[in-house]
């Protein structure tokens, strides 16, 4: 019924999931305890973050002189890191907005985490212009508000100011987009929560989401419109970042190809970072059934396309620079001068990491391989950092006046701040992974019937569709595999509950007990439980036995207090 999907499309939810399974799997990392690895990763990230805080405090206290900047190279690691982080922050919105407009179902497994990554990355990016101001307490000068300098306003002709507007709009819109999508998932966690404190927190976070039909109708429309707004927005952000360079007169920066090339590069690096994070998270948080090979392969295809655009841009920059015959162009970041000059290592890092290595994704085996994907994604992360380093530092190091030619070397403060933002990013992401529903479970449930492997298989083979709430398949397997064991358990269970004698006793309608559906009733009947009297005798021990026999809804019977209900019904 309306769930048909072409059989040629691979399942994007595997593991024979039911709706309830999705809730359980998404809630598991939140309800469970953090393991040792999480604490180790968190401690390392926190240390790096604290180091960064120290470096920032030192910068603000002493002045920007503590960085390695000089007269000629007056932008270096700070703006490199800024552009790198903003670029990384492009994948999230691309996945959630652009792929929504294109109706790509595979986005649903990864959009939540990609958006989280976006927001955390943009937070890191925003730090750099702020601390680069030097006097951070005068930061409000970038806002168009009357200040103590009289009615001197900000300059709206400046790309740097456009950047302030673009990035704050982007950050805030991404945030509400993310949060609106989170509401139903927080509500799911809230309704599952058993600890009062947890319940309180998730009630607060879910804004009282109830899931009415009208709410969902508005929710979907709002998501669609936000996607429509966020799509040009995400393209505008890196376009405007590129204007910071493209509108200047510095050789190498003054380039009309920058906006599209920056946007492609941003998506390229963003997806590489998504791969880096999700390949680890799917393992750590047991989400292998939701973030599958299909997701990884599709993202690798996007990487291949955007990497291709970036490579073409490099080639055209190289060619056009040479073709102009202008001697200034001989030393820009993509030129023979750069390839053989003192920054040859930065030049070749860029070419190898961004243009050469991603080409391996043409090979299907590699783009479907988790380990190779992870390795290549790391190379792209590095390569894209070098792209921004090359654009900024190589171009500034070889200006119009050869007597000013110089080089840049970072101080421990430059490095410390960069490491600090990495730490801050991972601190935020690790906390997110333990407290937020990391999969948009409501959306995933809505595609389960079209893209779940059990449903797809059922359609292919013509067998009856999987029923919700009780996993027939799993039970069949249990019955086959541990038939003897099950029989033993069942007779054990009956011993304590009392046998049902069809000649003297009358079977009750067990469905009257809240929590027992028609299928569960059948299962109980199979075991030999027919009456309220039998159910009424159940205690913790019998519940556990029952759970181990049926294998579905562990703990449900106890939660719903079947025995108590049955005793009431009996009288």
């Amino acid at each position: 019924m309306g769930h048909y999907e072409a059989p040629i499309r691979e399942a994007i939810i595997t593991g024979d999931k039911s709706y309830h399974d999705i809730s359980v799997d998404v809630a598991a990392p939140i309800e469970g305890k953090a393991n040792k690895n999480w604490w180790i990763a968190f401690s390392i990230a926190l240390l790096a973050f604290l180091w960064g805080v120290g470096a920032i405090a030192y910068t603000i206290g002493t002045g920007i002189g503590v960085w390695g900047l000089n007269n000629k190279i007056n932008w270096a690691w700070d703006i490199t890191n800024f552009v790198w982080w903003v670029g990384i922050g492009h994948a999230g919105t691309l996945i959630s907005a652009v792929l929504l407009l294109f109706r790509q179902k595979w986005r649903m497994g990864i959009n939540r985490s990609a958006e989280a990554m976006t927001i955390f990355a943009v937070v890191q990016a925003g730090l750099f212009p702020l601390i680069h101001m030097g006097r951070i307490w005068d930061g409000f000068y970038v806002l168009p508000i009357p200040n103590q300098l009289g009615s001197l306003w900000v300059n709206f002709n400046s790309p740097l100011l456009w950047d302030v507007f673009a990035i704050s709009t982007y950050l805030s819109v991404s945030l509400v987009f993310w949060w609106t999508g989170l509401l139903p998932d927080f509500a799911m966690i809230r309704d599952r929560a058993t600890k009062p404190f947890q319940k309180k927190i998730y009630s607060l976070l879910s804004f009282g989401w109830s899931g009415r039909a009208k709410d969902w109708q508005r929710f979907e429309e709002v998501s669609l419109v936000l996607a429509g707004l966020a799509t040009p927005l995400v393209l505008s952000v890196h376009t405007i970042v590129s204007f910071d360079f493209a509108t200047s007169v510095i050789p190498g920066w003054h380039s009309t190809v920058y906006p599209p090339y920056f946007v492609a590069g941003a998506v390229f690096s963003g997806f590489a970072m998504v791969q880096t994070l999700l390949l680890i998270m799917r393992k750590v948080s047991n989400l292998e059934h939701y973030i599958t090979r299909v997701h990884i392969e599709n993202m690798n295809k996007v990487i291949l396309v955007t990497g291709g655009i970036v490579t073409v841009a490099y080639l055209s920059e190289l060619f056009v620079g040479w073709y102009t015959g202008s001697s200034y162009e001989d030393f820009v970041y993509l030129s023979v001068g750069a390839a053989t000059g003192p920054y040859w290592w930065a030049f070749w890092s860029l070419i190898i990491c961004n243009a050469v290595i991603p080409q391996f994704f043409w090979i299907k085996k590699i783009r479907r391989n988790y380990i190779w994907t992870f390795i290549i994604a790391i190379f792209i992360n590095i390569g894209m950092w070098f792209e921004r380093f090359d654009i900024i530092v190589i171009n500034l190091s070889r200006g119009h006046l050869p007597s000013t030619w110089t080089q840049f070397s970072p101080t421990f403060v430059d490095i410390g701040i960069f490491i600090g933002t990495l730490g801050f990013f991972f601190v935020l992401f690790l906390l997110y992974a333990r407290t937020f529903p990391v999969i948009a479970q409501a959306e995933v449930k809505s595609i389960l019937k079209s893209s779940g492997n059990n449903y797809k298989r059922a359609r292919d083979t013509g067998e009856s569709l999987p029923k919700q709430t009780v996993k027939i398949r799993e039970k069949v397997e249990i019955i086959e595999e541990v038939a003897d064991d099950k029989d033993a358990q069942a007779s054990n269970l009956l011993e304590s509950l009392g046998e049902f004698d069809a000649s003297t006793d009358k079977a009750d309608d067990l469905k009257k007990v809240k929590g027992i559906g028609p299928v569960m009733e059948k299962t109980l009947n199979q075991i030999g439980i027919y009456t309220f009297a039998q159910v009424g005798k159940m205690t913790k021990k019998e519940y556990d036995l029952l759970d181990s026999i049926t294998g579905s809804f562990p703990g449900r019977a106890e939660r719903d207090d079947w025995a108590g209900q049955a005793n009431k019904l009996k009288s």
Binding site: Y19, N157, V176, D191, S203, K214, A230, A442
Partner: protein, 174 residues
């Protein structure tokens, strides 16, 4: 007037959809349906009017654009016109190309945020608000249809049972 409602629980979205159609065909009033995820076509089946969020967003966008034009003109042209890099700011029309990025960002900013705020207000979702779904399972894997009892309760119950409800509870509506 008796204000009883029946809560019929379903565990499948397709069964729910069919049930909604059947209940409506039998001229019963569906007060509300609570679902764990968006069930496509449910709003149409229930006869809910289309949402106007898209229109709202457009109007907020126009407002944002208008606001941006007003404040750019005030700041750059009226209040303190400057000659920046040989490109004087003496007329809005001539300077407009340089304002396009800001005009665009403000349009998006207004339409996105005000639409989301409108959505939250209309659907009554905000911090510290209590959830109103009658059964916690409706955010997990159950679908709850709330039907007003008019006339015979038994008849309605049997109708709902016939639609495949797995659980039926009669509640006093307060």
């Amino acid at each position: 007037m008796s204000s009883k409602v029946i809560h019929a629980l379903y565990n499948d979205d397709d069964v729910l959809m069919k049930a909604v159609k059947e209940v409506r065909a039998a001229h019963h009033h569906i007060e509300e349906v609570y679902t764990p995820f968006p069930v496509h076509g449910l709003d149409k089946a229930m006869g809910i009017a289309p949402t106007r969020m898209g229109i709202t967003s457009f109007m907020f966008g126009v407002l944002g654009l208008g606001f941006a034009v007003w404040f750019l003109n005030l700041i750059m042209i009226q209040d303190w016109p400057q000659n920046i890099g040989g490109k004087p700011s003496f007329s809005f029309a001539e300077n407009m190309p340089a304002f396009v990025p800001i005009l665009f960002e403000m349009t998006v900013f207004f339409s996105a945020h005000l639409m989301v705020i409108t959505f939250y207000m209309r659907s009554k979702i905000w911090p510290f608000r209590k959830a109103e779904n009658p059964d916690p399972r409706t955010t997990d894997d159950h679908f709850l249809m709330e039907v007003a009892v008019e006339g015979s309760e038994k008849e309605l119950t049997s109708l709902l049972k016939g639609t495949g409800a797995i659980e039926i509870n009669v509640k006093e509506k307060h």
